[in-house]
Symmetry: C2
């Protein structure tokens, strides 16, 4: 199988590239504009003759179409993943998520590629009324531009399944942690504590409850689903069967770093506008296919801290 | 109050313009690109000094911003409403629905206008598993590009409510009938029977069950909601408490026209890809505000046929 991965130089995408290349029958084409992706993440992949790297943007429709030629399956991971800053630049979610996804689908159609795996988010549930939240939870009300744009993408995928006979796999992720993680609160905390181990300022009240999944568990979950689920539209929550408070993760991070910072809080239930004080997904559906995560949330956080400590270059700001 | 109506020269928009102008305290600005709107629909409004017509497109961001100046409330009705042909030109729903709605919201933000009423659709429920379908039905799977684009718009509105302190009113319509109706199956049937009263070819098997709402009842429902519901995000199904089969409406139309056509069927449960064989919305929520429809579905169909017979000019194709 020849896989095409948008955002393949990013956290999720590069992990998927490596995972797919570990199977000798697979070829991988990574397409990335390197706005947040890192060439370093593809160090191993670039040594593999079954791997091709194309620098390109999903808003460049012609290049996207051209680059996808001959592929069998598309993983569409490229996205604006900056959940917090949606209100600073609302057009970013529209362009980089909704319109980019439309372009990916159109490029697939032009190349007669019919199968796609897509990274959606638990944020599409807004502030869920049912927790743990199953895939068929009550019709949600969006609370962030990010969630709204991902929901728009999900709708496009499903409509292409119906209208153009695509087979689509939609993964609603909790936050993902692990090797190459470079974005989100564990990253922010590690960076701040590296600069000043004596204190840590926390958005919200620290009691926001979050669920995390370790990236390698996430990769196995995705492959389990695309190899076993066979509906036209396949929607799966991906997460662990547990959650933690932001304060718990601060404890694990501090312990692993060997620091004891004085904590201070911005206060309030939410870390930012649209922050969800409790994301916890029901993962019965994916478990029913035989998958289960190997790492606990604590183990995922610790692996992430270890990765960040061994790779201090990821802290160098590039924007 | 000064109301801004996108798509104000269309079926729904022009009815709303007239309805609002019937109250002496209201001013109305209609913004329409006349791609499907009709100047004739604004004949009465144009005589009113409290009315302004601006010819403009929602993809023209600057003109949109400029035109909205000084308004208090926006009705966003402009849309590509061609549910059936989505797969012929998928970019149409993206541009004219999703991106246009984004532009409307941004223009509101630029003008510090915070309240919007939006025409969504029962199609966002896909093939609903709960019928009659309430607003908080299980998280639906989209089946049409049209429904997917309207869902994308709903998400944007809700995210603007959360992120920018908007107050949004989302109306999930069944099909609307009545004066100025120029689009959909009652229109198609009347047109065909006008050309040849001896036969009628019906898409699907004629057993598709549909619910319809008479346009003047629809206007009252919308005003009831925006004047009484006061959440940040207000989502209301609008429809009648009954449904009919396509075959029933064929009977009512034929009777009113005094014709007896030989019927033939394309067959199949669906009239077209993404057609929903049964749309029937639960309207308890809007009824709880004191609204109820005055016309039955049959009365709505008959009023529509009478309108079309008195206004044969609407059959002149313009595209």
């Amino acid at each position: 199988m020849k896989y095409f991965i948008t955002g393949g130089a990013g956290f999720i995408g590069s992990n998927m590239a490596d995972r797919l290349l570990s199977e000798l029958e697979n070829e991988v084409v990574v397409y990335d504009n390197f706005s947040t992706g890192r060439r370093e993440f593809l160090e191993d992949a670039l040594k593999n003759e079954r791997f091709t790297l194309i620098e390109g943007d999903n808003l460049d429709e012609e290049k996207l179409k051209e680059s996808m030629k001959g592929c069998d399956f598309v993983f569409h991971f490229a996205a604006n993943a900056d959940v917090r800053m949606g209100t600073e630049h609302p057009e970013k979610d529209l362009k980089q998520n909704t319109i980019a996804t439309f372009n990916v689908l159109e490029a697939m159609r032009a190349n007669n590629i019919k199968r796609i795996g897509f990274s959606s988010t638990g944020s599409v549930y807004g502030e869920a009324t049912v927790i743990p939240t199953p895939e068929d939870a009550p019709f949600p009300i969006q609370t962030s531009l990010y969630g709204a744009s991902k929901l728009a993408c999900e709708g496009l995928l499903a409509a292409y399944a119906e209208g153009f006979d695509f087979q689509v796999y939609i993964f609603r992720f909790v936050s993902i942690l692990g090797e190459r993680y470079t974005h989100g609160h564990v990253f922010d905390f590690c960076k701040k504590l590296k600069d000043d181990p004596t204190q840590l300022y926390i958005l919200g009240n620290g009691k926001q409850r979050k669920s995390y999944l370790y990236v390698k568990d996430c990769m196995e979950a995705i492959l389990t689903v695309i190899r076993n689920a066979d509906e036209k539209v396949n929607i799966y929550n991906l997460g662990t069967d547990e959650y933690c408070e932001v304060n718990d993760s601060v404890g694990w991070i501090s312990k692993r770093l060997g620091v004891d910072p004085k904590l201070s809080y911005a206060g309030g239930e939410r870390g930012w506008i649209g922050d969800n004080p409790f994301i916890y997904l029901d993962t019965k559906k994916v478990r029913s296919l035989g998958w289960k995560p190997k790492a606990t949330i604590e183990e995922g956080v610790v692996k992430t801290v270890e990765y960040l400590m061994s790779n201090p270059w990821v802290f160098e700001a590039r924007n």
